[in-house]
Assembly symmetry: D3
Homo-oligomer: 328 residues x 6
């Protein structure tokens, strides 16, 4: 949207406020959302009954127009009425991956197929056959804000790491490929219970107090116990221990919430690929989200401790290419 456009759409209401102008007139100030983001909106000449009729956490059909307010886009509401939640698809009001989740999931399962170790195969089956868990995984974001913060983000990020691993495993043949494949699949799986995606992405109490690393370890234990029951003997403890270690250490440093530092080659491998994909998203997103004109840099990004230069994609006016024949 740009300033001066007419609006005639359904939005999710995140916040509302009834205000008085200095002249004593009432107006409503509220925050409206759809899957592309959120906007501040004002409705002048409001009444208390209009105000009361706006459902926070619910939906409204709005008519109005956009305008520029101190460089930020805002909306002026001419009229609005509640809209039944049954008639909307919640996903339309939440940021969502632009890829096909089912297709990504299928590719992720393909990545697991080469796993040879039998107990590991049984374990992975337990995860994949847990419908509730899989549904939650498919819905989960990869983070609140840092990277892939949208529905389907967890699957998208995990698949990216899987693709990286698939391509690099042949270069490090001493790595235990079974362990890497299972580790990639499981490293962030606790995120399915760390965040909720109702009408906003937010941490669950358990996410805040326990965290996805420990939740992942508990899920892993649960599935290993189920395998043990199936095969009538304990799940191989060493295998379990190594998978636990990969989950615990994948943040790579204590200050990022890993209670153990990587201590097997496979844990280092996953840690770096995980980090690489996150940073690729963060830098690309920072550049795309940065306002078009003006500075050659994005704003300062706390998580990267720097601003990002926006134009490394082209080498400038000198971008004359030559046929890539023999170089030397």
């Amino acid at each position: 949207m740009s300033p001066g456009e007419a609006v005639d759409e359904v939005f999710l209401v995140r916040e509302k406020d009834l205000r008085t102008t200095r002249k004593g007139d009432l107006y409503v100030l509220c925050t409206l959302c759809d899957r592309t983001g959120h906007i501040t909106a004002r409705m002048w000449q409001a009444t208390e009954s209009i105000y009361n009729g706006i459902p926070v956490g619910g939906f409204v059909h709005v008519r109005g127009r956009t305008e520029d307010y101190r460089g930020t886009l805002q909306m002026v509401i001419d009229g609005c009425r509640p809209y039944p939640a049954e008639k909307v698809d919640l996903a339309d009001f939440m940021p969502t991956t632009d890829k096909d989740i089912e297709q990504m999931w299928a590719e992720l399962l393909e990545f697991l197929r080469p796993v040879k170790n039998r107990p590991l195969r049984l374990l992975l089956r337990k995860f994949v056959q847990d419908r509730d868990l899989v549904a939650a995984v498919k819905r989960a974001p990869a983070a609140m804000e840092m990277h892939h913060p949208f529905i389907g983000g967890l699957v998208e990020h995990t698949l990216n790491v899987a693709r990286l691993a698939e391509r690099l495993l042949p270069l490090y043949p001493h790595l235990n490929a079974d362990l890497v494949r299972a580790g990639v699949f499981l490293h962030d799986i606790g995120k399915a219970a760390e965040m909720t995606t109702g009408t906003t992405i937010s941490y669950t109490d358990r996410g805040e107090l326990v965290g996805h690393i420990t939740i992942g370890v508990i899920l892993l234990q649960e599935k290993a116990d189920a395998v043990a029951e199936e095969i009538g003997r304990p799940f191989p403890p060493k295998t379990l221990m190594l998978l636990q270690h990969i989950i615990l250490s994948h943040h790579g440093a204590y200050e990022y919430g890993s209670p153990k530092l990587p201590a097997i080659p496979e844990a280092f491998f996953i840690h770096y690929l995980d980090n690489l994909d996150a940073k690729m998203w963060m830098t690309r997103n920072a550049i795309e989200e940065a306002p078009e004109p003006g500075s050659n840099f994005t704003t300062y990004l706390r998580q990267l401790d720097t601003r990002i230069y926006k134009h490394s994609d082209r080498l400038g006016e000198e971008d004359d290419e030559e046929p890539t024949g023999r170089l030397f």
Copy 2:
């Protein structure tokens, strides 16, 4: 070598010392090297003239035997005489890559071939056509101790990073591939002047006081100036700036000697791949170098702040595999 073996070989002498036993007898204590490492050796019943005849930094033909001393292998010399330096190949006394350096170099040049940008191609040609520099690069280790600390190590490590990049570039199409290829090639090139590999790997004065990051930037400037002279106009400043930035930021953190943090996607990409390959070498080497029996862990490694578990390569007695058909 194991304790109790007979020795009849040529060694490089690193240190020597003339000592007196409590009974007044003289003996020689010295450190001998070949490309596999170094060993402490003693020669009992020595004389001053024997001692004087042992050339530090030179070579000796030694006869004797090995023995265990407090858990460490040592050597007892029965006889030794100087050996002419002309008759040895210095490389036989220095740790050296077990790969073919020329072949690796050729593959590295292949990695550069797809570069399209003309000034970048000219720049890379300047590097590759500088015979002295190329000779130094081929000889250089990748580090004193941390990773690939042997002759040819720089080429081996750089090629590894190139292979990683080659495989991952298709997954991040928004990256500037020309910049990545040139950046990978150049990121550590200053190491060719940071260390010397005479009869030992050691920092040059310049390596210690200036460091390979800045040396690399200076080399880059020199070659860009040469291109400018060739084309009769300045080397494109933006291209130069981005390559400088990649070299400067590739350690990824101030405390590791990078004066700038990565601020373009390509710099992050190279930083993580560089780091990944270094860690893969470090963990693998730590496991291989660890004494066979006893603990399941290596000793504590300061650079990784942990001990490495040695047996993640196999999942234990439960390693029964099944045919990797359809998993789910």
Copy 3:
């Protein structure tokens, strides 16, 4: 033991080495242990068959004498012969608490008795009725070296924290006492599987790669699952979450291996009491272990980043007391 004493005792052999003097005579150098500590011992005029007869990890009956070697006590062995492991009590050769473990355990159970919440009571019962676990807990040390590093140390330390909590709970009535009691009992319980106490205290592979914090959380999950099965409905998730949080956060800082920082009053309470008891042990032990004469300070203690002053227990010659009547 002091220098010059005769020795006629059974010891555990930790290490042995066969050495040659410069004159070519063989001697044995070995490390011997009993529950009070370990000592370096030499046996001159040894033979290879004597050496082979000394069982590492087994026991020997030694005759000899002690002597001072560079300020350290050492032993000279005059004669030694293997001693059957069946005839010794392993605990006699391992450092062990000087308190009665069963009595401490009983007091610890008393501490749990006031817990009112029914699911919590059921949970605690599951722990206490797990014979193998309880046996391991009673045997476990509280740490490798830092504090209470001896058999029974975990129970001794946990009981100390319980006593602190028992006395302070009345002062902070807003704390959830049930949660505190259960949390104190459980905070370090994973240590029962983190270390082994065979003939030495050492980390298990799982201890090193997974750690007692995560092991504790898994044990907790296992027992909560068992309660769920017993009561036919899920264990109350909020209760479980808060106990998990207490275990996870009890080290109080990321760099000490806590993946979550304390975020409920009860977690802070347990963190400080745990820390207080550890420091009380460390300072007291440092003072007791410090060599009697010479400096008024212990050696530098890395874990406290200081030396400890040994004589704060008395206020010096001026220690004249007066009857403690009304002060002001």
Copy 4:
């Protein structure tokens, strides 16, 4: 107060501002305080003479009403006139402990009574008999914002630490109880001169430039000198040194302003109890101050580096209790 209430009260004026609306009308914006906190207030249709009549740092009698402004309570003033400072009790306009200061002080003195060491008793007497100092101590807060930031806060906090120590001393009989009692009493005493409590709590210049730790040490020296004069010989230097050390080290870490780390058991003991009581206040206060509904967590607290979960006091719907008979 909640929105829509009528107001007819005396307030302390902290700030005032004369503003013009876009229509050119004048209005006054000011901050009013009482002991429960402060509020922003506006007076529309003001004149310059009204504005000039409002005394910053003085008192006004206000009539008006409260309203909600962007989720924050504000006040609209209908009329106000200056109120004579003589007619108010300053303490009514400053946050003050809800406990009886004299009673707390008396209990604190009881805590000191068991001190046996004569010079220490004389020293404590000097403190307690210094009327000006005692008056300042009773008035002082324990901190600007962190914990117990109100009149009487220093006594309340010190007494809390004393109660903790009283209960825990029997558990660590190797501690020097005299030193602990005196140390608890003195550890924060410099705060009496670090902050002022006129019509607001603020640092004195000396508090900012010298700090309560050093001020405390100087006060201690002054009183020890007075004892020396009384007894005709120097105050026992070791006793003085140990008390100085306790004051200096009680923050437990350099970065919190302790120039020395704890190096006697008594200093550790006081450091942990001090910290525990501060954290108990901070967590409890954070929960009580957090707006009732909405999130289960408080806002992020910088000093604890986390948000606090507000509902650990109850274990949820499952809170069924059972009689606390024999548990196992």
Copy 5:
């Protein structure tokens, strides 16, 4: 300027914004600058054509008046019209040193005169004879905000460090004075290309991605190459290396962007003098810029991690002096 003054002046326009009041009237909000700073200004009853006529980055002649808005000075514009850039001196709209730049430059050259080493003299000549570089140096600030952030600031700061060095060199005769003189002159020279001073001070892309330390090293290399060409042999490599080291290490710590720590006495010397002069400016400026009345302290300064006490210049009412004759 103070509130209530009439304005009739030319300003640089930094930002502008067209806004609507709630009544639908348009007004302009903009930021105006001259060399003393910047101010927010409003023009009520504006039209779109008035708004369009205001040139951002250009100049306007403004009539209006100042007023106080929430304690900040603002401006109300009554009328304004564009002003031709040709008629203004850009320097009048940028903060500029209050010293004579040419005179400072001359003194700086005097500081270099005692240099004896011939190659060093030739090198310095190359710098001084590079007209473009010298022009840029004279214009450059010493920093964006931290210290001497104005036109001429680089020369002013460098001269200050030179004066410090000139006075202290006699006290440390073991220092290599030639190296110190050249090092002082060169340490910050890269700042001439790190920032631009068009109508505002801002980082260049190269400044942000490469930084003044590396730019300085490259400039040094360029001039050393020029000397080499002149003398027909390489510039003495040791001299070059030491100068590079001084530039690289002059920030004194990795976290401040130095890729090498000082490792020669001369580098320490320059690091401390550089730092001293920066801090002298920062503290003095903080005191001068602090609003006159109220607190005895400036606001918190992040770069110094403290507030600065404003009145250490006088010792208070007790400032009675006595003739400074013999003191003891």
Copy 6:
């Protein structure tokens, strides 16, 4: 001393040990000191009565010779007998400044002479007239090991800082010169009681537990109290506060034991000059103490986190000087 020299001198005995060779012969191992340092010495064919006759902490007259032992100089004692302590000057056996202490002290007093402020002059007089304190100051080292670690080191270092200040004060006329002069004199004065210099430099108990910063503040208070008594009114509190602040903050960072960070310009000034002089000593000493040949660098110095390059004093073979006429 170099290997092979004859020895016939008096030494201080720091340690002794009676050892047995494998053949059963006794020998004495001891550490002997004079003001130039310490050496390890052995006496073969010793008896117990010889051993008993050697006084630790006392003096012996030794005859013998030096020899090289693993690259370290050692001594072989042929004969030795006790030497009466009365006949030696203790200072001959402790490292001592090579400057004249009285002359340095006199110059330091000259530095104080320009102080104008009367109370400050009175205060300084109290210090200078305290004979015991002055005697201790003159004897004190500036540190245990870091810089100027010898008798007279405190005066030497303080005078150096005074000379720096004397020369730089004219460049920063806004500094309060009286405060700087007094602050320089006092900043380290607590070191006179922090260390003892009996037959070795070591921390006093008070030095270890309280530290020179706090001791200095207490000394200052004592002298200010004395002035107050003399003038019949309190010592000006602002002056006292600023001096306290300078002492407290002169280490410049919490982690170096300063409980307050510099917050007045004068405190920054003293902090940097103090640091500069310490580093000048450390680098110079490191270079002088480094073994002559071999590496161009000293060993790694923990306190500087680097090795020091030894040859920055000369610019190498290219050291051709030219007459320093007009440079440009």
